[in-house]
Symmetry: C2
C-alpha cells in the first residue's frame, strides 16, 4: 500500500517543530537543519514545504496568531440579543482567551513573546502581529456592542472610566452608541488581557486570578 | 599619564553591548566573543568583568529591570498628603513609566521581551523578573494609597470596578482601607500598563494614546 501523507498535517508538524526550535534557541536558532531535526524528517522535506527560512519563520508567526484567534469565542457576533446571556458569555470568552492555560500554552506564549521582541526590527513579523491585533480589536468592539446594545453609550462611559474626561460626547451614528467609548472599552480590556497574560506566563499569577480581574471588569455589564 | 578606566563605566558599556547582541541575535547569540565585538574590546576584558556567560546574561536582565525602576517616580511615597497634587502626580508618573518613548526605549523593550520569553524555561531570569514585579506592585499600592488616603476604600472599589463583585468587604487594618481593593487597583493598572507598552513598542499605538488610556483610569481619583 502506498504511504499516504497528509499535506496539511505534515505542514503543521513542521510548524510545531519550528516553535520548539524557537522556544529552545530563539529565532536565530532556526535553520532548515534544526527544524528538520526537531521534526524528525529530512532537510529536503522541510524545504519541500517551505521555500525559504524566512518564509518558514513568518508562517510560524501566522499560525500562532491563527491558533490564538481560534481560541476565541466561536461564531460569536452582534446578532445575539443585546445584553443576552449568550452575548455576555461570548465577551467573557473573548477576554479569557488572552490567558494562557497549562504548560503547552505557556510554551506557546514564550514563542509568541519571541516574535513580539523580533517585530521591533522585522517589519514582516510586525505586520502580521498588527493585522492580528486590529482583527482582535474589531472583534472586541463587536462583542462589547452585542452586550451593551445600540444605546449602550452610558454603560460604555461608566465601564471605561472615561466619564470624567469629557470631549467624547459626540454620538457615532444613528444607533446612538458612542463609538469612541466602545472602542476605548475594548482597547482597555485587550491591553489588560495582554498584561495579565504575561504575568500568568511567568507564574506570577494564576490563570484563575487573571480571570477574576477580567471578570471584575465585566461585572458592571452583567449587572445590567 | 596612566589611563584611568572607570570600572562602573566599563561594566555599563559591556551590558549595553550585551543588549545590542540580544536585540540583534537573541540570547543564544550571546557569547564572550559577540559581546566583545559589539563593545569594541577584547574577549579577555569581558571575562575580567563577568566570570561566565550566564552571569553576563543575568546581569543584563538585572540592569534592564533597574533602569525601568529608575524611570519611575523619584522618592515618591505615602508621606505626601492624601489626595495632594504631589501624590497624584507620583501615581501618574508610575503609570506612565510603563510606556516606552522613543527608538532607544523600543529597542530596550524588545530586549526586555526577549528576557520575558526566555523566563519560561530559565528560572534565574524568571526570579529576577518576578522580584521586580513584586517591587513594582508594592510601589503601586503605596502610591495609590497616598492618593486615596486611609479611608479610600470606596474610591478603590469604584475605580477598580469591583463594586459589583462583593465578598471583598472586610476591612484591612485599623486605617480602614480595604487592602484587597487597593491591591486589585494596582494590579489592574500594572497589567494595563504592560499591555499598552507592548502595543506602543509594536507601533500599533502612540505613546500619547497609551497615556490617554491610563489618564482616563486616573481621572476618577483626580476628580476627588
Amino acid at each position: 500500500m502506498p504511504k499516504i501523507v497528509d499535506h496539511a498535517q505534515r505542514h503543521t508538524e513542521i510548524v510545531h517543530a519550528l516553535w520548539q526550535v524557537i522556544y529552545l534557541k530563539g529565532i536565530d536558532g532556526v535553520s532548515f537543519r534544526s527544524v528538520a531535526e526537531a521534526a524528525g524528517i529530512s532537510i529536503g522535506r522541510v524545504q519541500h514545504y517551505f521555500p525559504s527560512r524566512s518564509e518558514l519563520i513568518l508562517e510560524g508567526c501566522r499560525q500562532i496568531v491563527d491558533s490564538a484567534e481560534a481560541a476565541g469565542p466561536e461564531g460569536a457576533d452582534a446578532s445575539s440579543a443585546p445584553g443576552s446571556a449568550e452575548a455576555v458569555s461570548a465577551l467573557r470568552e473573548f477576554c479569557f482567551a488572552f490567558i494562557p492555560a497549562g504548560e503547552t500554552m505557556r510554551i506557546g506564549a514564550s514563542v509568541w513573546y519571541t516574535y513580539v521582541a523580533r517585530a521591533v526590527m522585522d517589519e514582516q513579523i510586525a505586520d502580521i502581529i498588527r493585522a492580528s491585533d486590529r482583527a482582535t480589536l474589531e472583534l472586541g468592539v463587536r462583542l462589547y456592542r452585542a452586550v451593551v446594545g445600540g444605546d449602550g453609550a452610558a454603560d460604555a462611559d461608566d465601564a471605561a472610566g472615561t466619564g470624567g474626561t469629557g470631549g467624547t460626547d459626540a454620538s457615532d451614528g444613528a444607533d446612538g452608541t458612542k463609538g469612541e467609548a466602545v472602542t476605548a472599552w475594548a482597547m482597555r480590556m485587550i491591553a489588560l488581557g495582554k498584561g495579565l497574560a504575561q504575568e500568568v506566563m511567568l507564574d506570577e499569577r494564576s490563570a484563575a486570578s487573571a480571570k477574576a480581574i477580567l471578570e471584575a471588569e465585566l461585572a458592571p455589564l452583567v449587572a445590567h
